[in-house]
């Protein structure tokens, strides 16, 4: 496990050095990379930081909880992809700076946790109504 992580990190470093060396040092010598999605332009840096904020918020809040693992495919995956899509949409429509993009992404990711909790309660209730639940809902 740890070796795999180390190997990936070692592979990333030369790529990173090549990618970083190309950019200029000042605002005038460097232009932000613009990417397109369905014809809509957005700043790559903002998008990367928003998606990173969203993924890390989804990832570190209660990722080890049993409820999350139990409902991984039926709830966790849809909620996570929904939050990612909302974060991407925010970046495309608002064109934020990297810091604001990071906060948007993190905020949406944390909201996703609330959505997950609500949906989990619904499913537990539904199971109890249909007599499938192994534990009664409170």
């Amino acid at each position: 496990m740890i070796w795999r992580l180390g190997a990936t990190a070692a592979a990333v470093i030369p790529v990173a050095a090549a990618a970083v060396a190309k950019t200029g040092a000042t605002v005038t010598t460097s232009t932000p990379t613009i990417w397109f999605f369905l014809g809509y332009p957005f700043e790559a840096a903002g998008m990367i930081s928003a998606l990173f904020g969203c993924v890390s918020a989804r990832f570190w809040i209660g990722a080890g909880e049993i409820a999350r693992r139990e409902h991984r495919w039926i709830l966790d995956a849809p909620v996570s992809s929904m939050t990612l899509a909302v974060a991407a949409g925010l970046v495309i429509s608002l064109h934020p700076e990297p810091l604001s993009a990071l906060l948007y992404g993190g905020g949406v990711g944390i909201l996703g946790e609330g959505v997950f909790k609500l949906a989990e309660q619904r499913i537990d209730k539904l199971k109890a109504v249909m007599g499938l639940g192994d534990k009664p809902a409170e």
Binding site: A19, A21, S30, E97
Partner: protein
């Protein structure tokens, strides 16, 4: 321009070289990547540790009474994690938020870092003092058989930290190379 009325920090940013990252990086992109990634990782891991330890404290508040070794150990962890989180969080905001086009906001981040640093350091110093203060008693407690501690009980959490670290590194490279 309204910049003449704003803070010294904002004026320094506005009148200095319009660098993409703080001028102290001297144009070295790889150093920006390392700093950005490290500060972000430290903040995220710090918050993770604080949340876990505070949750444990609430959960075990009846068994771990005040001044029991378990609660002292936990307080130490919380103090160090708080110090790291505040210090690296302020640095992270000023690195991610550095923007010569918006010198007022950048100046606020720079000043906020100066305000938060002493608080963070006082958390760290308090942690060291609590450690030294409790050390004789704690060592007495820890010299009881059996000695070996199972180090790997919390390995899943550390694994999550490492994965988060790798993710942060990739994101930092992406942001620095595309802006």
């Amino acid at each position: 321009m309204t910049i003449a009325n704003s803070s010294f920090a904002a004026r320094a940013v506005a009148e200095g070289p319009q660098t993409l990252a703080p001028p102290s990086f001297n144009g070295m992109g790889w150093l920006v990547v390392i700093n950005l990634a490290m500060m972000t990782i430290a903040t995220l891991i710090g918050i993770m540790v604080i949340v876990k330890l505070a949750g444990d404290w609430v959960k075990h508040r009846n068994t771990d009474v005040w001044l029991s070794p378990a609660s002292i150990y936990r307080v130490l962890g919380i103090l160090f994690a708080t110090g790291i989180t505040i210090r690296c969080g302020a640095e992270m905001v000023s690195l991610w938020g550095w923007n010569p086009h918006d010198p007022v906001a950048t100046g606020i981040y720079l000043t906020a870092k100066r305000l938060f640093d002493p608080i963070a350091v006082s958390c760290g110093i308090t942690g060291l003092m609590v450690y030294i203060l409790s050390e004789p008693g704690m060592i007495e407690q820890q010299r009881k058989i059996p000695f070996p501690v199972n180090m790997w009980l919390a390995w899943p959490m550390v694994k999550r930290m490492l994965r988060l670290g790798l993710l942060t590194f990739i994101a930092a490279i992406g942001v620095v190379s595309t802006r």
